[in-house]
């Protein structure tokens, strides 16, 4: 009796959350799908008409789409590579006996807590400004020509900013994983005369495989929709050089007011994200059983 009551109660406690999330998932998505089949411009209200898959044809064959897809992939790929390649040695370093480790960890984790608009503007102005930025001054100290970051290598500049924001995340997760590594296993390997390098390759790295996968998947979810950093630094330019898919859809929706095409683009973004999500959900799901 009590169990049945408990179950009933449990279900009623769960319902509001499930219901809200269901509405949150279904309603906007259904509207996006609906809008994507319409010719619908906010500049020309009342002219909505059904056009089938025309918006998708338009969006997918737009040269801007291919450019932004390429930028998205370069941005996501570079930031992933940089945060992991820098994060592993950094985490290994912080796992060593370091005096004042807690303080070092505070410094390393700090960028993650800085709001994206602040990091982007501080990097763009105080550091990367071609005349008065700190980097320009450093370059001139060494007799080099300062780089005009946002004109010469705009996408790379955005990559650097985003890497700075996500390096703490990768490092922290890898460090957490390192700290759960069985010390005895490492000591046994050392006793057997294994070099530091082979200990790393045969013991540490396999142990890090899972956290690295998790970092890749979670970062990918967030990096696919990098927006604020581009919005406040380059506005997608020069030309389309820093327009990623998220920014392209924003521009079509809220600058060109083309609801139909932006909705089609939105669905393309959803599909791309779902491919990544599929793998992440599987990994997390496996963990639930353990």
């Amino acid at each position: 009796m009590a169990t049945r009551q408990t179950q009933l109660l449990a279900r009623s406690l769960l319902t509001p959350a499930v219901g809200l999330l269901f509405i949150w998932m279904i309603v906007p998505l259904a509207l996006t799908i609906y809008f994507s089949t319409l010719h619908y411009s906010l500049l020309d209200p009342g002219s909505e008409s059904f056009v089938g898959l025309e918006n998708f044809r338009y969006f997918l064959t737009d040269p801007a789409f291919l450019a932004s897809l390429q930028n998205t992939l370069v941005l996501v790929g570079s930031v992933l590579a940089l945060t992991i390649l820098l994060g592993i040695p950094l985490a290994l370093l912080m796992d060593q006996p370091v005096i004042g480790r807690n303080f070092v960890r505070l410094m390393v984790i700090a960028p993650f807590f800085v709001m994206p608009t602040v990091s982007a503007l501080v990097w763009k102005n105080l550091l990367m400004h071609p005349v008065s930025g700190l980097f320009a001054w450093l370059a001139s100290l060494f007799g080099l020509t300062p780089i005009d970051w946002f004109n010469d290598v705009p996408l790379f500049a955005v990559i650097l900013i985003v890497t700075w924001q996500w390096l703490p995340f990768a490092t922290l997760i890898l460090l957490t994983a390192l700290q759960s590594l069985d010390e005895e296993q490492k000591e046994a390997a050392e006793m057997d005369g294994a070099s530091a390098v082979s200990t790393f390759i045969y013991i540490t790295l396999p142990h890090l495989a899972r956290p690295i996968t998790v970092v890749i998947l979670i970062e990918t979810i967030f990096l696919l929709t990098v927006f604020a950093e581009i919005f406040v630094t380059t506005g997608g330019g020069p030309g389309l050089q820093t327009t990623n898919i998220a920014f392209l859809i924003y521009a079509q929706a809220l600058i060109q007011f083309d609801v139909g095409s932006a909705s089609a683009g939105g669905l393309v973004a959803v599909v791309i994200a779902n491919i990544v999500a599929f793998f992440l959900v599987r990994i997390v799901g496996r963990n639930l059983e353990a």
Binding site: L93, V98, R105, M115, V118, V122, A273, V281
Partner: protein, 276 residues
């Protein structure tokens, strides 16, 4: 010999760790310093690192000219409101899934997680149009609502992983003693759940405070939180580095402090328990 080597190793790794830590932290430090310079000095080449004329006038100007406190209040209301509402919805749900799991609990959890994977830009258009229709654009309530829904899956997940760690034997003992569900909740569960609740609250405050997709797209002035307010410094006529730095320092200082307290929970919350 061994001792010597160890001391040297500690010295080297300490020096290296401090160096890299400092480099990573440097942009924030540099911004903090610039906020105490005059506009001229903030722009100067060669830059001065410590020996400039320290002034706090930027902080006063930012408030006078742009009503900084108004935007800070928006941030507090939006981040705090969305987090609290999300907690109110999530606590019963997570409690129910952790203590009365059914066959479908795992599927429900994974489904909730998958809603978080939806790129916000995929639903930007309908949300924008719905908000426009209902007059929710540039309103605090609109932002509270959307950030609450956006973070709800993370809140439920974090609470679920914490609740699951509460030993069930204790609950059974309480039940044997004849405790009702209400009493069980108040006297047994709540005290044990408070650390988990606190870290969930903290992490989600941080996430909501820094959220910069919906806030940028759905607010312009009256409901604009600090993310949107700072973004207004990107316009060419707004190039005041010292004032930008002062406004930014104020905007990130409270969250930096909260963030430092919640580092451990950060890993767990953002990896949905996949890394502990």
């Amino acid at each position: 010999m061994a001792r010597m080597a160890t001391t040297r190793r500690v010295a080297i790794s300490t020096a290296a760790a401090w160096l890299f830590g400092f480099l990573i932290f440097f942009p924030i430090l540099w911004m903090g310093l610039a906020s105490f310079k005059t506009e001229l000095e903030a722009f100067a080449i060669p830059p001065s690192f410590l020996f400039f004329h320290w002034t706090t006038e930027n902080y006063a100007t930012v408030q006078e000219r742009s009503d900084y406190l108004h935007h800070a209040m928006n941030s507090i209301i939006i981040a705090g409101g969305s987090t609290l509402i999300a907690l109110l919805i999530a606590i019963p749900a997570a409690w129910s899934m952790a203590f009365s799991p059914t066959k479908r609990t795992k599927d429900i959890l994974l489904w909730m997680l998958s809603t978080k994977m939806m790129p916000p830009v995929g639903v930007l258009v309908p949300i924008y149009l719905i908000y426009k229709t209902f007059g929710l654009l540039d309103s605090r309530i609109g932002l509270v609502l959307i950030l609450c829904l956006g973070n709800l899956p993370i809140v439920i997940w974090m609470l679920f992983t914490y609740f699951k760690e509460i030993p069930r034997d204790i609950l059974e003992a309480a039940r044997m003693d004849g405790a009702t569900i209400g009493r069980e909740l108040v006297y047994v569960l709540t005290p044990m759940a408070i650390p988990g609740l606190a870290s969930t609250l903290l992490l989600n405050l941080i996430l909501a405070w820094n959220e910069a997709f919906w806030t940028l797209n759905l607010s312009t002035s009256s409901a604009a939180p600090l993310t949107t307010f700072i973004a207004s410094y990107s316009s060419p006529e707004g190039l005041f580095w010292a004032k930008l730095s002062a406004a930014s320092t104020l905007a990130i200082a409270p969250i930096l402090v909260l963030g430092w307290f919640s580092q451990k929970q950060l890993v767990r919350g953002l990896t949905f328990g996949a890394v502990k």
